[in-house]
């Protein structure tokens, strides 16, 4: 598992979707404190929750963490990448069921 900075993660994610046009890609998000094994300052540990994001295509794993200050920009970029990858292959038939 490679822990990347948010920006390299996004480009890896993009590549992963590109490589797996016929395969499967999983993206998992969870809340985590990423706590180090031995913490010398237990008081500060409280506030250090971040959003952990992992991407996996069955062969490679990449992951990143997004802090409360970064998530807005990151979430936008990630949604754009995902939509770009998904839009072409999903069916266009409109069922008029949204809204």
């Amino acid at each position: 598992m490679v822990l990347l900075e948010p920006d390299p993660f996004l480009s890896e994610l993009h590549k992963m979707y590109d490589r797996n046009k016929a395969g499967t890609v999983w993206v998992t998000m969870k809340r985590s404190n990423m706590k180090p094994r031995k913490s010398k300052k237990p008081e500060t540990a409280k506030a250090e929750y971040v959003c952990l994001i992992r991407a996996n295509d069955g062969k490679r794993h990449v992951s990143t963490t997004v802090s409360p200050t970064q998530y807005a920009k990151f979430s936008q970029s990630m949604v754009i990448i995902m939509k770009g990858a998904m839009a072409d292959t999903l069916k266009k038939k409109e069922k008029k069921r949204d809204k």
Binding site: K21, V27, V50, T89, L90, K95
Partner: protein, 81 residues
């Protein structure tokens, strides 16, 4: 468990997350022509499956809500060491 109605899935998913913020994960599985969203805390598992392009907007919406929830959501009351 698959939920057919997105609105029901959306609300149930958020409730599930709020009950156990640290144990709940959200997965977007994408395979050509098909997307499966899964939210689980290892006790309850909610899934939503679609192959319609129009549902992309909904996927975008739920993903956008989980980011703030997971990046700066409320801290769990009992989750201290």
């Amino acid at each position: 468990m698959y939920v057919d109605d997105f609105e029901a899935f959306y609300l149930a998913a958020i409730d599930l997350y709020k009950a156990r913020p640290l144990e709940t994960r959200y997965t977007i599985k994408f395979r050509q022509g098909k997307v499966v969203l899964k939210v689980t805390d290892d006790r309850t598992c909610l899934k939503f499956k679609t192959d319609q392009q129009t549902d992309l907007r909904q996927i975008e919406r739920i993903t956008a809500i989980f980011f703030p929830l997971m990046a700066c959501g409320e801290l769990p009351a009992e989750g201290e060491q």
